[in-house]
């Protein structure tokens, strides 16, 4: 897992001009700008990929046996594979799969983990203990091992892989949310609200949640990248999307036996994974610095 943000959050709503600070930070930091541009490209590819790609066919690329195994050229910038499918097309189409999986996994992990963690951290007591024991159990597995075991049990496929990743990821958000809730409940205004008899749900919604958003968003951004890596790994082993889907990890695996001569088959999908994950990490890094003044240069 990438670095977890576990320091005290700043209270966003009280810092003026977040947008202005963000803009200034981006302008100074070309790396973050680079990341944002790549994310934009990937999102566009995911949204309207089939319209942009040269020969999408039914969604996996058009088969053209006469044009098989061609190295990168003007006609085929990323070359063609053993069935003559255009690699550029397949890489573009793969963006949708990558983003879909990661957004679903991170989204569900947040939806499941954050409420559980927030309640546990705010309420304390036996509920806290119970929820924490459960998360401990899931976190006791080295990352990905649990996911692999689940997919091995259920059978390979994109849905099962997504499910397995959700099961592996939600505990992190529960932990994160709990930690934030625990520290936030000690804050003066929260304390005061409780003393004044304000309803618990109101406190949680008005104070706890908004102030937790920052770290959670940072974590989520970085995690989108990490999940793409994990899903790619699962697909590489054969536990993810199944052929002929244009999944990046699967393409790297399929191209591996040709790696010595037809190097382009594994290289471009692999680079796609790399740059996408890099972009999310860079942007996550940017958000991290925006939210915590101590990290600023």
């Amino acid at each position: 897992m990438a670095a977890t943000y576990n320091q005290l959050p700043s209270v966003i709503s009280e810092r003026p001009g977040f947008a202005r600070r963000a803009a200034r930070a981006i302008a100074h930091d070309w790396l973050a700008l680079f990341g944002l541009v790549i994310i934009a490209v990937v999102v566009v590819a995911a949204l309207i990929g089939p319209l942009l790609a040269p020969s999408p066919g039914d969604g996996a690329g058009v088969i053209n046996v006469d044009e098989r195994m061609l190295p990168p050229s003007l006609a085929y910038p990323f070359g063609t594979d053993w069935l003559g499918r255009d690699m550029l097309t397949r890489v573009i189409l793969g963006a949708r799969i990558a983003l879909q999986v990661s957004l679903i996994v991170v989204g569900l992990a947040i939806l499941i983990g954050v409420p559980l963690g927030a309640i546990a951290g705010y309420r304390r007591g036996w509920l806290d203990g119970l929820i924490m024991r459960i998360t401990d159990l899931f976190l006791a597995f080295p990352p990905l091992l649990l996911a692999m075991a689940i997919v091995a049990a259920l059978g390979p496929g994109l849905q099962n892989a997504t499910l397995a990743l959700v099961v592996s990821w939600w505990p992190w958000y529960a932990r994160l949310a709990r930690g934030l809730a625990v520290s936030l409940r000690e804050w003066p205004f929260v304390d005061a609200s409780r003393a004044m008899g304000i309803r618990e749900s109101s406190i949680i919604l008005r104070h706890i949640v908004p102030n937790s958003l920052g770290p959670i968003v940072v974590q989520a951004t970085i995690d989108i990248g990490t999940v793409i890596l994990a899903a790619g790994g699962l697909a590489f082993i054969g536990l993810g999307a199944r052929p002929p889907a244009p999944d990046w990890g699967l393409m790297v695996a399929e191209g591996r036996q040709y790696i010595l001569e037809q190097w382009w088959l594994s290289t471009f999908p692999g680079l796609a994974i790399f740059f996408t994950v890099l972009a999310f990490n860079l942007v996550g890094d940017l958000l991290l610095r925006l939210l915590d003044p101590r990290q600023e240069d």
């Binding site: 046996v65 098989r68 199944r242 002929p244 591996r256 036996q257 010595l260 001569e261």
Partner: protein, 533 residues
């Protein structure tokens, strides 16, 4: 899982660790003794894994090793040899008038790897074990009993005439095994699995085995054919390498001398390379797609024929094996009995296919094709089927799965079964009539390999008649089989994709390689090989 060891041991973790370390020490093929500098070691990269070390139960890829450690009574010769069969452990054989008794004279003075002598009693014990529990035990079907006539003669009595020379030369269930080992195995089913020794008469013995990693064979000093006639290899180290790319790397890096599966794309380059010779030989491996004839609309012959017409046969051969294969006829590869070289085969004709679909009144339907995820050939051409059948309006889903599961599903709940089962097939011996045509397409109560679930009485009776004739009148049997094969092609319960070639890449430091089509999984016979002069 409990119950697999004879008595559950209540050992502590520490002892288990110590035991495992001992296994590591024993099992590690890094021996302390082999320090000789001029040791001739043959190094091979092979895909063959071991499912069992039991020569009786063996029915899979481990035949590569078994065929070098165990010998049958008779050897079937490679294509083009003068004699069809040559002596193995039997010096001569003859049939009685009525064809119901075969007499085998056995070679004298032969010993097994464990020192036991080979004699008629040993031969009887081996054949009886194969009949009773052999993985390919069904080949001995026509046999009623085996009698010991004297120390070196046995009689095999049949219920119907059969080609016992062919059966006794099979690639499975026909090896002679030390009777002492057979007895030990009867008492302990796991006897052979330790992988520490072998119990045959073959030229090489099992020295050590690291699961999933390597097999080390060493010369059997008392081998009956001796070691002085040529410069044989003293040891053979086989590294189990399932990935073709790893094999190529090992070969080009000088780590191995022989590779049995390099990526098809690399074959040309290796061929042009002066350091290597690529041997391409027709083999008995064939790919067939079994259609679920019990499910509409595949129960309509016209739909199946349309599929046969829509299949892009030459593209499949180009893409999956780069031309190192030929289109298959009626599931029977060319080169064994029965001869299929005159049997018809379909060619791609999209227009005719569409016309047939229209005639059958079928617009389009959903079709699921299952195939073995670990098979690169199937993985390579499955998308071509999806594409081609798509033009007929058929929505194809490809479902790769581990072969076990693919297999399991095909036998299970009829509603959950696949529409087409992509299968890599090879016969248990050189009789594809008794095997391929029967196992794959003859109807049966519980489908064993008839995964098209086809039930055709005409076909069944043709097959039964042909099988009965095989022992007595080969030509008549051939005629019946030919009829059956034509019927098979016409009714198209299966799509007959391709026969593949066996591609063996040998470094030029090794001489003597010759492929024997009759032993598909014993691709390399180590005794034949010697270092180049």
């Amino acid at each position: 899982m409990h119950g697999t060891t004879p008595q559950p041991r209540a050992v502590s973790r520490r002892v288990a660790v110590a035991a495992a370390l001992a296994v590591t020490l024993a099992g590690s093929a890094v021996t302390v003794t082999a320090q000789e500098d001029d040791l001739d070691v043959l190094k091979v990269a092979h895909t063959a894994n071991i499912t069992t070390w039991d020569p009786v139960a063996s029915f899979s890829t481990e035949a590569q090793y078994m065929g070098n450690m165990y010998e049958p009574l008779i050897w079937a010769t490679p294509a083009g040899a003068d004699e069809e069969y040559v002596p193995g452990l039997a010096t001569s054989w003859s049939t009685s008038e009525d064809g119901l008794t075969w007499t085998f004279e056995l070679e004298q003075g032969v010993t097994f790897h464990d020192g036991e002598p080979f004699d008629a009693a040993a031969a009887k014990a081996s054949i009886d074990a194969a009949r009773e529990r052999g993985g390919a035990g069904f080949i001995w079907g026509p046999v009623e009993s085996v009698e010991v006539v004297d120390d070196y003669t046995i009689d095999i009595n049949l219920s119907t005439p059969a080609a016992l020379d062919l059966i006794a030369s099979s690639t499975y269930a026909a090896w002679m095994v030390s009777p002492a080992a057979l007895e030990a195995a009867a008492a302990d089913p796991e006897f052979f699995e330790s992988g520490e020794a072998s119990y045959g008469t073959g030229p090489y013995m099992l020295e050590s085995y690291v699961p999933d990693t390597e097999v080390l064979l060493t010369q059997f000093p008392d081998y009956r054919l001796g070691w002085d006639d040529a410069d044989h290899y003293e040891k053979v180290l086989i590294t189990i390498t399932p990935e073709s790319i790893d094999q190529q790397q090992a070969l080009e890096g000088g780590q191995v001398d022989i590779a049995n599966r390099v990526p098809p794309e690399s074959v040309e380059g290796l061929d042009a390379n002066p350091d290597f010779t690529v041997h391409r030989d027709p083999s008995l491996f064939t790919y067939v797609g079994l259609l679920n004839t019990q499910r509409a609309p595949l129960d309509d012959t016209r739909v199946r024929q349309a599929l046969a017409l829509a299949t892009p046969y030459s593209d499949i051969i180009d893409v999956s094996v780069l031309g190192q294969g030929t289109q298959n006829r009626a599931s029977v590869p060319v080169g064994i009995f029965p001869d299929s070289s005159n049997t018809s085969m379909w060619s791609q004709d999209m227009e005719a296919a569409k016309a047939l679909m229209a005639e059958a009144g079928v617009e389009g339907f959903d079709m699921e094709i299952t195939y073995a995820a670990e098979n690169p050939v199937e993985a390579a051409f499955a998308p071509l089927l999806q594409d081609a059948y798509g033009e007929l309006g058929i929505n194809v889903t490809l479902t790769p799965m581990p072969f076990n599961q693919q297999w399991d599903r095909s036998k299970g709940d009829p509603d959950g079964r696949q529409d087409m089962f992509l299968l890599l097939w090879w016969p248990a011996n050189s009789d594809a009539g008794a095997d391929n045509l029967t196992s794959l397409f003859r109807s049966s109560e519980e489908p064993s390999f008839n995964l098209s679930y086809w039930q055709n009485e005409t076909y069944d009776s043709l097959i039964d008649e042909a099988t009965a004739l095989t022992g007595s009148d080969r030509d008549a049997a051939q005629a019946k089989y030919a009829e059956a094969m034509e019927l098979l092609v016409e009714e198209s319960p299966g799509i007959f994709f391709l026969d593949t070639s066996a591609v063996t890449t040998v470094a030029n430091t090794v001489e003597g390689f010759e492929y024997n089509i009759n032993y598909p999984f014993t691709q390399i016979m180590f005794y034949q090989l010697s270092p180049a002069a």
